[in-house]
Amino acid sequence: MTRNAMIDEWYPVGLASQLDAHGRKTALMGEPIEVRLGEDGNAEVTGGNGRVLPACIRYGHVWASLGDPQKPLFAIPEADQPGRRLVDVGVVRVRCSPLRAVENFLDIAHFPFVHTDILGAEPHTEVQNYKVEIREDEDEVWATQVQFYQPQAAKSAEGGITTQYMYRVPAPTCSILYKTCPPRPGEWDVITLFVQPLAEDLCDVWPWMALFDDETPMTDLIHFQQTIFVQDRSILENQIPGLLPLDPGMEIPTRADLTSVAYRRWLKRHGYTYGAQLVAQ
């Protein structure tokens, strides 16, 4: 087998707030790793054979790579904006392909059916036309001008509103979603899905948020996002096929899936195939 391009990418491997000198054993793409607080206050991550892996702390999490990252971890400029509440939602393990977890996050069509009365509700199931592109300069997938009617778009939303969304995929297992910020029109709330690939069919998902919301207690913000993600979990664990198919023609895309099509095309182009299925089976 050829070396997978995903080896050189950055992945979340733990919460920065839970780092300690004792360390935590986990895994990255099948390799056992250990994550601990180094004597210099930085994160120290070691691979299966004891080799020291590239590591950094950013966006509430410890990040590591099994190979040689060609770029620093992607930027989220909004994360450094003053006045935002940074929310560590905590890990949820899912028995599914890490790529499937991201793909589901990009799909708004499931809102009324899976997140009924929160992120969507029947009969408002129509996904209006929006724009999807692979931005060549940044080398990222973007979906913009996405609109959807939501009964309770955020903890801070009072009643139903039509929410604007933008989706961004800056790394094969990470996605960032920008969404209408009810208390601050003109700004975007940032909701991320950082996925740690443990195996091709197993991942630890670390949602994280940077919100403008001075009212809602932190625990309520955490519970709101955990509720949503756990509603997805059972769907993710029952998807067929388990690995993400990267062959065109295997699953017929609808308009709502345009982002997923672009994501798959982008993955395939880069050879990001850990958790993917290349030939129709």
Partner: protein, 219 residues
Amino acid sequence: MKLYDYVLSPSCYKVRLMAALTGVALDIRPVDFHPGAEHRGPELLALNPAGSIPILEDGDLVLTESSAMLVYLAAKAAPQWLGNDAAGPAASVQQWLSFSHRLTASLGAARLHEMLLRPGNIDVLRAQATAALRELEAGLVEQRIRGQCFLASDRPTVADIACFPYVALAPDGGVSLDPYPAIRLWSRAIRAIDGFIEMPGIHRLHELKPEPVLEGGEA
């Protein structure tokens, strides 16, 4: 009445569900169970040295066992949920209330292991869960033979509410409910009760599809 609550906790959901079914309003105090482990912090340990949630406060009364909370809500607001007080049925309610702890210790621990990375021996937990589910299935089959849809009576009681959540969430811990047809019927019957509420992972019954309209010639 104040409930120290976590949205993803099946034990807390028992109390929320019972309150909804009996029409009792709860004052919800969210606890950062994960990732914050607030239930093991000083404030909550002072209330419940066992370090678990739910905790229910009503005036001077503090309850830390969900089964006791179900009985409290029912006794206060809707005593029909306590079941029949003849010796046999009353004991049966108690039997299933106690039995529900085995579901927490097996299915609940398997779910925490698989979902929130809690330590545990997953094979042992699943084996214990399977033993408990088989016992529940047998109990429900016997009830059906007696013409009763619920665990201790022909109507739902606190016993059903105590057992339902961990069972319905068994797949979260990698335990399938496919082998248990009586459990699946019982789960439907509970979800069909007026006033039923959901939690993440437990869905409402899908509304029945309207009858298909057949054109003259097709029928």
